[in-house]
Symmetry: C2
Subunit: 406 residues, 2 copies
């Protein structure tokens, strides 16, 4: 009950953690589910898109030569020998003074090398003979034709490994014939929420019990960072039960609560006995009673039960690992902005501080908070400012970096 | 086949569209699924969190008076009369010169109003009598005690309607006893992809057919914006089939392909005949052949089949509607940045242009693209620049706003 004999710096904790982080293996997922996933391998097209020359406008496919010299005052007659529609080519070929009516996307018939737009012709009266039109302007070869491979040439390297797939990327993958994407597997995360004072989420708090806040919060954070959550419910503060959970079928185990050095703090001892407790106690506020370690192949994060500490320790350590195992950036998913502090933030040298702030008329206002147990401070806040362990804080008026929650 | 007689401005299209947009009704969803959803109603707490005074540190609960004057040289003896753990209160009360050992989070026993941290006591030898300790420092009333309601006071308005729920918000909702959140219903979007030249996504393109790019892209866009996608597969260019799809059980119908004024462009005529075709033809590039309308209660978006046009028309109109119906901002979900153009962008007055750009060494480089059918230009691009219809474009060196895709 005497507290931590010594605390690790955040930098030392990162140094250990980052050495453990390598992207997981890959899996093939249907494109339908691949948005936002991370490519595990580069993609090279083995087809041309489109695979044929096609009309880029509605109009008439012609040999450009047939329109040479055409103007409104020097009309060039063209015999219309048929139609081509998208997916439905004209069966023959186009000779001089002939035209095939085409819709945008239709295959260009052999012999035609340009499209005369519908706006540049006039339909002529058809008296029993083949239909004909007059060209009112000339087109040059290639005009209004989408060439084979115009979008993608066979052999083009389209995407590198590590790319987070955007909606249009799925369109491109589909267009080269891929129905699936090879992506990095999502980390499976076992969430272990302990605390005999806790009622399951959805319970009304009563007597000396409180409703679990960390479970729903951490589950949403894990999903935000690309993890698959396994959260079967609260776990009693009992060594056997916690040990079993620490050995779950998962890539990462996150334990919430009981992470310090008190007599009811079982998880750190269990990790030290059955695995490796590499870091325990970190010079930061909140989240000082945080532990990092391994149980076999599993990375283990011991997060304090106080909900703000839990949020902070998750964001510093567990979220970083989930993102990295999933092939994503280690950086926070928060947008940074800069602004002037409207009140000073003090923090002792040797400790990193996570200060919740609001943005008020463009200035940065530190929240007066009552500590690590006041989760509502993290909902009132617009973001947070980090005071490094080499700093005594920031004076009022200082220009600081804010990480925005939303 | 003569093109649009006149085109609507983007502003006119927005004016019609925005008048149609009101958030949908609400539904209750489990907190587990509520991350990122939009609150439909304000939330006021009807409980205090915590519901009792509790220890904020490991140590000894005492009447602060009992420690008055205590120092390392003036030790105050205290009899330890029991323990309190989180969820497990001490059964009795604390009198003068008495202490109850407490863990962080334990209910404060009656009579105690402060916690003497474990670091400030010394355990004394226990020779058969009740255990006792010495206080080495004084604590003031309230010290290291988390008061009832410290986090949330009953009656506090926690969240306003319209809030996009963050992970910590779910924690707070859970802590006040909510197992569900009342959120705005997600818009149901029927995706109708037409085109006889199309093969379903996952097919290798062959002959004069191409693989559907728009279906996977639009489905991912709809989900990004909070919609529920109903995309049962490609739809033949057939009036009866398209009409049936336009009457789907959905809040929004998005038709991809056949949106222009050609003979195979069936959807605009169907919407005009059986509903309202309010906007058809918009002065923008790409996406000029875009239609907006209604079929009964359904909002209908007719998007061009060319995939870049489809992306652009989706982002301008359909995405805006999906977000608004779901209670979200109409604004793009893209992050804006500013940078200097390294080559000019030209655009005629009277037409809005959507110019894909790359960020190269911090400058903004317009992509040389071959038009609306080159979807790979939207994967090579880092974002886009909008040239308004009142502008002839931007000179090289101009500082422009870029909307970043990633």
């Amino acid at each position: 009950m005497r507290g931590f004999a010594q605390r690790h710096t955040v930098a030392a904790a990162f140094a250990w953690l980052d050495a453990q982080l390598a992207p997981l293996g890959s899996e093939d997922v249907p494109l339908r589910l691949a948005g936002g996933r991370v490519l595990a391998a580069p993609v090279v097209s083995d087809v041309d898109v489109p695979g044929f020359d096609r009309a880029a406008m509605d109009g008439y496919a012609v040999a450009a030569d047939s329109t040479e010299g055409a103007t409104a005052y020097n009309r060039m007659p063209l015999t219309v020998i048929g139609d081509a529609m998208p997916g439905c080519p004209f069966a023959g070929s186009v000779s001089a003074r002939e035209a095939v009516r085409v819709m945008t996307g239709a295959p260009m018939p052999p012999g035609a090398d340009a499209v005369l737009p519908a706006e540049w012709i006039e339909a002529e009266p058809n008296e029993g003979s083949a239909p004909w039109i007059s060209a009112l302007a000339a087109v040059s070869p290639g005009k209004h034709v989408g060439r084979r491979g115009e979008d993608i040439v066979r052999g083009t390297a389209l995407f590198e490994a590590g790319r987070v797939l955007r909606p249009q990327d799925l369109g491109v993958l589909s267009s080269i014939g891929h129905g699936e994407a090879r992506v990095i597997r999502r980390p499976r995360v076992r969430l272990v929420v302990t605390g005999n004072e806790l009622l399951p989420s959805g319970s009304r708090p009563r007597g000396f019990q409180i409703a679990d806040a960390n479970g729903p919060m951490l589950a949403a954070l894990i999903e935000r960072d690309g993890g698959i959550v396994d959260f079967p419910g609260l776990v009693r503060d009992d060594a056997g039960t916690i040990l079993e959970a620490l050995l779950a079928d998962a890539d990462i185990v996150i334990v919430s609560g009981g992470s310090s050095v008190g007599i009811e703090d079982l998880a750190p001892t269990l990790v030290a006995q059955h695995g490796e407790l590499a870091v325990h106690g970190i010079a930061m506020r909140p989240s000082s009673p945080t532990g990092l370690g391994r149980m076999g192949h599993r990375l283990v994060f011991l997060l304090p039960g106080n909900p703000v500490s839990s949020l902070c320790a998750y964001d510093f350590f567990a979220g970083r690992a989930i993102r990295a195992l999933g092939g994503r950036t280690k950086q926070w998913p928060y947008r940074p902005m800069r602004g002037a502090l409207n009140r000073k933030i003090s923090s002792p040298i040797g400790r990193l501080d996570y200060a919740r702030v609001r943005i008020v008329n463009g200035t940065v206002e530190p929240l007066a908070t009552a500590g690590a147990s006041v989760l509502s401070s993290a909902t009132r806040a617009d973001g947070f400012v980090i005071v490094g362990d080499d700093s005594e804080g920031f004076a009022a008026g200082a220009n600081v970096e804010v990480w925005l929650y939303a």
